[in-house]
Assembly symmetry: C2
Homo-oligomer: 237 residues x 2
DNA sequence: ACCTGAACACCGTTCAAGT
DNA sequence: ACCTGAACACCGTTCAAGT
């Protein structure tokens, strides 16, 4: 009876269930709360039990990264590489916003996981199908860097902020604190302009989405121009 | 006598000495070896003694970041903003190559330290002096992102690899392992092209410096074009 | 054969007891 | 008044002892 309840309570505990629980824990409580012990407790299991399904914590993180990257929507068949890539990167960005811990985790793990490779392969496929040379494609992938995965990698990224839960804890300062403003006048002027720049979003600092697309389009436009000119690296170095 | 030797052995232990020792430890043994306990041992001191000079480990990391960012050479007076910024970013990159742990540490700490603010302020100053509007300058800073600090943020960054000591431990694979090559044909083709692309550096994968400058110039050229056209964000959104 | 409690070797940090 | 050893509350992971 008590034994039967026990059996029911603990569902088989597959690797998949562990990974989903780990992602949920990191999403909800922050990546710094993700320990083998906490995760085991969330699953109603002794910590040691996890090691039957993941070799160690690093492999757990790799698995979590695969789960997240796997959420990025597949590319829609599109004739034009530029809007296709643009859409894909913005889709990746939406996924990363749902899992604010993911960018740093991916960078820290150096992203050699299977899901990441599959994603990158598909992006390369889009560029090649669009007529870009292998050479140019290679440089473009480097130029995009982690931006291709939707990272904003901005200087003051509130989303990435050691974030407890998904909630925005405190409004970004928008303008620098007065003490800092005096020491760094140029920075203060730019920050101040940003905060009352757009009338749409009041006092929210600045429009992250706009900034992301600004940078993305700057890169994509540059690539398109090089492509139209038949750019080759051999001619340059 | 023994007491006198003791006194001589342990130099006063200032905050500055702690920070320099911490940077040296991270450079030499990798950031994962940086613990309060290891650092104290390197300084011939009990761990608790460190807390007299730094409040906690996070403040220690902030101090280390300030040391590293402080190493970036000040801007040479230059009439033209574009080559000035280009040189500065490449100088920052050299510094980051000396301290491979720094980019990830800066991203993890969200870079609100004094030295980082001072650096950014100076970069903004360069752009403003070059005639860029506050508006455009703001967007440019976002578009550059952490690249302005010399981060390569590349997809497979060997330098950032959890690096034990400064030495290159194993040559990068350049081409993907055969198993992966079969699964990810597009990626494999690009990787293969990269490895025998340049004749200068044999088998070293690809030229990181070239890729960095490629991306940097793509951004700078785009910015210059916008600036010449008198670009304003109000006209676009 | 399988599972797991206790243990090991670490952390960052506190605090009261020593000088 | 100052310094610091022992201790606290954690880690990831091992391993032998239990079923």
């Amino acid at each position: 009876m008590a034994e039967q309840a026990e059996v029911l309570r603990r569902t088989p505990l597959s690797r998949d269930r562990i990974l989903r629980a780990a992602v949920a824990l990191a999403d909800g409580a922050g990546i710094e709360s993700l320990s083998m012990r906490n995760l085991a407790q969330d699953l109603g299991v002794v910590p040691m039990a996890l090691y039957k399904h993941v070799a160690n914590k690093d492999e757990l993180l790799d698995g979590m990264i695969d789960v997240v990257v796997g959420e990025i929507a597949p590319p829609e068949p599109d004739t034009d590489w530029k809007p296709a890539l643009r859409r894909r990167v913005l889709a990746a960005r939406q996924v990363m916003r749902r899992h604010p811990w993911a960018p740093l985790a991916i960078e820290a793990r150096n992203m050699a996981t299977v899901a990441v490779l599959a994603y990158l392969d598909s992006v390369v496929g889009t560029l090649r199908a669009g007529g870009l040379s292998v050479d140019l494609t290679h440089h473009v992938m480097h130029a995009m860097g982690s931006r291709v995965l939707g990272f904003s990698q901005e200087l003051f990224d509130d989303a990435r902020r050691a974030g407890r839960s998904g909630a925005v804890e405190s409004g970004p300062p928008a303008a620098l604190p007065p003490e800092a403003a005096a020491r760094f006048p140029h920075l203060a002027a730019v920050a101040a302009a940003a905060s009352h720049d757009d009338d749409s979003v009041v006092g929210s600092g600045c429009d992250d989405q706009f900034e992301f697309e600004f940078a993305l389009d700057l890169l994509l436009d540059g690539v398109e121009r090089l492509h139209r000119r038949g750019w080759t690296s051999h001619g340059h170095r």
